[in-house]
């Protein structure tokens, strides 16, 4: 099950906790991976750790030219991009009343526009191959909203709408497009919360704990697999029951 031998995957945000877990799980199932991110040392270390079938390509997702070049760089490294995981994302949290145009635009640019550009960049190859997997990592807040995150929530909701539309356009070509929507996941970001904050948070999660990056990776792996070929346009929520749809 879920064998990815011979498949080539591009993972953005691979220097972060969830991106690294996704890259590791795809790689463990036999895929060749290109790790993308902004921090070259981290990517290089992960590449070295994975060993064979691993490459990296730095990319600044707020720079259109850099984004346009990434699918080509990944194709040069691997021969094709069969699986694209748009995992990279940023936050610029601020109350709506204080939200600047810049905070809004930077989050939309990186989270939504760069994802669109990367989908577009890999689509020609996937259409020709009659096989492709797009997995966009969105967020629970794209479905529920969250105070202080109008920009982030809008970018993640935008991703869901984009994914559904794209899924309908390319379904006949053997290409699926889906989202994975993490809830609260234990990463460097959530490590900063104090015990009171964590306890408060956990009261809203039926599972009574935060999720792990590996649990997001497992959902992503499923959607990347041949076995998930009839699943498209969906958002798979991985949140311990925090919100149910």
């Amino acid at each position: 099950m879920f064998d990815l031998t011979g498949k080539n995957a591009l993972v953005t945000g691979a220097s972060g906790g969830i991106g690294e877990a996704i890259a590791r799980s795809l790689h463990a199932q036999g895929a060749t991976v290109t790790l993308s991110g902004t921090r070259a040392e981290k990517l290089e270390a992960l590449q070295a750790d994975l060993g064979e079938r691993a490459h990296y390509a730095t990319c600044n997702l707020s720079d259109a030219e850099s984004v346009e070049g990434l699918p080509k760089a990944a194709t040069d490294l691997m021969g094709s991009v069969d699986i694209l995981v748009n995992n990279a994302g940023i936050t610029r949290d601020q109350l709506f009343m204080r939200m600047s145009d810049e905070d809004w635009a930077s989050v939309i640019d990186v989270n939504l526009t760069a994802s669109m550009r990367l989908c577009r960049g890999v689509m020609r190859g996937m259409m020709k191959a009659r096989w492709g997997r797009i997995i966009n990592i969105t967020s629970i807040v794209g479905a529920t909203g969250n105070p202080g995150q109008v920009n982030y929530a809008a970018s993640k909701a935008g991703m869901i709408g984009m994914t559904k539309s794209l899924a309908q356009e390319v379904a006949t070509r053997g290409i699926t497009a889906n989202c994975v929507a993490p809830g609260f996941i234990a990463t460097a970001m959530t490590d900063k919360l104090n015990d009171d904050q964590k306890a408060q948070l956990l009261t809203g999660i039926p599972a009574g704990r935060m999720g792990t990056p590996e649990e997001i990776a497992a959902a992503t792996l499923y959607l990347a697999s041949a076995e998930a070929g009839y699943v498209t346009g969906q958002t798979l929520h991985v949140n311990g029951g925090m919100a149910m749809f």
Binding site: R124, M127, E169, V170, T172, R173
Partner: protein
Amino acid sequence: MSDIADRVKKIVVEHLSVDEAKVTENASFIDDLGADSLDTVELVMAFEEEFGIEIPDDAAETIQSFGDAVKFISENS
């Protein structure tokens, strides 16, 4: 028939899995040859590769039939 027409016909026959005899001058990709809108995009992509040309979006929209394709490519390659 010209070399360009032969090469265009080959692409159309292969991509749309249609009988060569059906690919006539006025054969519309969508109405006569069973293409959907995504097929027409893919055909244009295939023409671009085969002939090493760039077909801009506004020109691509005018390429609706086998004859349109041959005419555009003949004039632009």
